[in-house]
């Protein structure tokens, strides 16, 4: 009796090409279950009326077209939430990228030769290691009212009345109620984000700057370019891809800002209208009071669209204009050659 089949396979050798598919299968499976399905389901839910009311009664799901979008845009706080998110992101990101650029330039500058670079980098990066929630709780306590560390500091500096502040009964008259005021809270949240992330941005930018060939800087120096010229004419243009990466990741992270503003929110504080971000609003629609999955999903879809559009705009603005021009010129030349 002969068993030819295995022999045949042996003869052919082991076919390894399909193992590749096995190795990448887990990713696709997990992606399908945990990413693609929720994503599609959210889009589906955005067009349904589906909620569990305040008295635990289930309504829906029934198809309602664009009613959820209309509701959240006209009646709900969606626009306010987008404005809050955008404002808090901008006041954190602009100083963050500027400071990160400055620090990255100093750390990579061969002429400055800063000592103890490693220690500085670690210290600057440090806030990013702590969880955002812990930092929020810390700041929440720092800005306590009527008596708290920041108010004590202000009293010591003479910004608020020292005598009134010293007595726990009269402290309320002079102390600043930070977490009740919209702009104060916005600035605190923006500052926490700034403080937590400038180190991270700096590290990314340093990596980008070190990737630029030193010969370019040397050549510029030999040609007598000033440090400013070197920075604006060589460093910045060549850093563009990294800057774009930083911008997009920070934008996406910023649009999803949740933990810090959520933890800084004092129950019953009027500041809420000015600090509620889009994700906080989604959480509120879906988890507080009536559990409205339809409107929650509609705001999620809006958030997705806004993030996508903004990213595309950024890509367009930051595109490599020279490369496009070169490509066009090449095409034109080919055409002419053919003709």
């Amino acid at each position: 009796m002969t068993n030819r089949a295995p022999k045949k396979r042996h003869a052919k050798g082991v076919d390894t090409s399909r193992y590749g598919y096995f190795f990448i299968a887990p990713f696709f499976l997990i992606y399908l279950v945990f990413q693609a399905y929720p994503l599609l389901n959210t889009i589906y839910l955005a067009f349904q009326k589906y909620m569990i009311t305040g008295t635990n009664k289930v309504v829906g799901p029934t198809f309602v077209g664009l009613a959820n979008f209309k509701n959240v845009l006209v009646k709900g706080s969606t626009l306010q939430a987008f404005e809050n998110t955008a404002v808090m992101w901008l006041i954190n990101f602009i100083p963050q990228i500027l400071l990160a650029l400055l620090l990255a330039k100093w750390f990579t500058d061969t002429r400055l030769k800063i000592r103890g670079q490693g220690a500085f980098k670690v210290m600057i990066y440090m806030p990013n290691i702590i969880t955002a929630a812990s930092i929020s709780v810390l700041f929440y306590s720092l800005f306590a009212y009527p008596q708290g560390p920041i108010n004590s500091l202000l009293a010591q500096l003479g910004v608020i009345d020292k005598a009134l502040y010293a007595d726990s009964g009269t402290a309320a008259l002079t102390a600043i109620y930070f977490l009740e005021k919209g702009w104060h809270t916005r600035l605190i949240i923006a500052f926490i984000n700034f403080w937590m992330w400038y180190g991270h941005t700096m590290i990314v930018l340093i990596a980008g700057m070190l990737g630029i060939s030193p010969s370019l800087f040397e050549a510029a120096e030999v040609d007598g370019a000033s440090p400013n010229q070197i920075f604006t004419k060589i460093t910045l243009p060549l850093l563009k891809p990294i800057l774009l990466y930083t911008l997009i990741t920070s934008l996406i992270g910023g649009m999803q800002m949740y933990d810090i503003p959520q933890m800084m929110q004092m129950q019953g504080s009027p500041a809420k209208t000015m600090t509620m971000t889009v994700t906080m609003y989604i959480m509120e629609l879906v988890y507080t009071g009536t559990k409205d999955y339809g409107r929650g999903a509609a705001v999620s879809v809006l958030l997705f669209l806004v993030t996508a559009v903004l990213s595309i705009i950024l890509f367009y603005i930051m595109r490599d204009k020279d490369a496009t021009r070169e490509r066009k010129a090449l095409k034109k030349a080919r055409k002419e050659a053919r003709a």
Binding site: T55, S141, Y145, P146, Q147, M266, G268, G289, T290, D292
Partner: protein, 448 residues
């Protein structure tokens, strides 16, 4: 928020020491073992401590050093605790209930009791073997709250929560010349007098002491004496004159700096019990033994503000809070649920024992009467018998303004009343924003 949790835990540890010294009350235990953990959902450690310090020792079970509770039949009791702040407890509980997770019992508070009573997630007491007759000694309002629209009783409370006004004897004498609780009651007998007294305290102390911590404390009273609930039968948000009155009262308090601006449950609010910045608090039964004693900075007369407090009725009879025990539909051990509910909310003997040791105010008219007859005094209140005051207030409790939406609507209102009081918004804007926020949170409601 973390601070509050830490504080409550600290209070718990102190409380845990007290009953350990007293004689243990014992009762029979004949619940068959199921081999499964008995899971209880709660928003703080209060009930956990009650089981550890009273029920478990009484039935002859053991509490391990890490707090693990084992019954004589070998079954264990497990707690899942999520704080009430910002409605977290309700979120987590709802998620677990709708996912069909195994929950044996869960606790509900007055703020949202109706939501769960009128739902399919709670078992009627009859189904676990407790009859309506057994609840005859409870205060009738606590039974009404736990009765669903079909007339079935779904929960049972171990405490009644009538509220009083607590004040510092020494500060009252210093600034108001008041020497007895009777004189003090005259100073706070209605809201106009209360406001005048608040001005007097502020003036005489040059702002160093305030009569109350914040406007939110006033709301704790007013919310329960309202004539209408937030939501009427037509599912419409009702904003009555009492709400308008409260908005204006809050503004007056703030404009004239008559409160310490210490919002309930914040650090300053808790600390105020132990220092001279705040003269009085509105508290109900559990608040005195659970919150005030722990924050007073002492554990016997002479330490901190312990013993310097006294209780009076205040401007209006009101209630604050109250906890009901319910058996979940997924309850795996109905006999144990029955035994726990009976121990804390039905049996006079065990309730009297718990009442005397904890200074809570139990939901058992017979036990309370017996305690008062035997001569009750509480050294925290300078030897006052405040149970007599509670006993007089409890029959006046009116729950007609209670609705399933209270907690979340009150949170919405807080933000607007503070915006109005601080002058950030005018009344019309604040009320309109309040209506919008409520309808946004509960789209099934309307607000005209």
């Amino acid at each position: 928020m973390k601070k509050i949790v830490a504080l409550i835990m600290a209070i718990m540890m102190v409380c845990a020491l007290v009953p350990a010294m007293a004689e243990t009350y014992t009762t029979d235990f004949d619940v068959p073992a199921t081999g499964e953990k008995f899971v209880i959902y709660a928003w703080n450690d209060e009930f956990k401590g009650m089981l550890q310090n009273y029920y478990i020792p009484a039935v002859g079970g053991t509490v391990a050093e890490d707090g693990t509770m084992t019954l004589p039949n070998g079954d264990q009791i497990e707690f899942v605790v999520n704080p009430n702040d910002n409605g977290v407890y309700q979120q987590k509980l709802d998620a677990a209930l709708s996912a069909g997770e195994h929950i044996d019992m869960f606790l509900i508070e007055a703020d949202y009791a109706l939501k769960y009573v009128d739902s399919g997630y709670t078992l009627p007491l009859e189904e676990i073997g407790i009859t309506a007759d057994q609840l005859a000694k409870q205060y009738p309002y606590t039974v009404t709250v736990a009765t669903d629209s079909n007339g079935q009783i779904k929960g049972s409370s171990w405490q009644a929560a009538p509220g009083l006004f607590l004040y510092r004897r020494s500060l009252a004498e210093k600034y108001l010349g008041v020497k007895s609780p009777e004189e003090m009651q005259e100073k706070v007998k209605d809201w106009d007098t209360f406001l005048a007294t608040a001005r007097e305290v502020n003036e005489k102390s040059a702002g160093a002491t305030k009569l109350i911590p914040s406007n939110g404390d006033v709301w704790q009273v007013v919310r329960t004496v309202r004539s209408t609930p937030w939501v009427d039968e037509a599912m419409n948000l009702v904003i009555d004159d009492q709400v308008k009155w409260y908005f204006d009262f809050a503004k007056t308090l703030r404009d004239e700096n008559l409160t310490a601006m210490a919002t309930p449950w914040t650090e300053a609010w808790n600390a105020g019990v132990g220092n001279d910045s705040i003269m009085g608090y509105f508290f109900s039964t559990w608040g005195i033994q659970w919150t005030m004693v722990g924050n007073s900075g002492g554990s016997k007369p002479g330490e901190g503000t312990y013993g310097d407090w006294a209780a009076v009725n205040g401007p209006q009879p009101y209630y604050w809070g109250g906890t009901w025990l319910t058996a979940a539909t997924t309850c795996s051990n109905k006999a144990l649920a029955k035994d726990i509910i009976e121990y804390f909310t039905i049996e006079t003997g065990s309730m009297q024992d718990y009442c005397l040791k904890s200074k809570d105010y139990v939901n058992n008219t017979e036990a309370i009467q017996a305690i008062i007859d035997a001569g009750f005094s509480f050294d925290f209140l300078g030897g006052q018998d405040h149970y007599s005051l509670f006993q007089a207030v409890t029959p006046l409790i009116d729950i007609s303004a209670m609705s399933a939406y209270d907690q979340n609507i009150n949170i919405c209102m807080d933000a607007e009343v503070n915006a109005y009081a601080s002058g950030e918004k005018d009344y019309e804007t604040a009320i309109q924003d309040f209506k919008d926020a409520v309808v946004d949170m509960y789209p099934e409601l309307t607000a005209e």
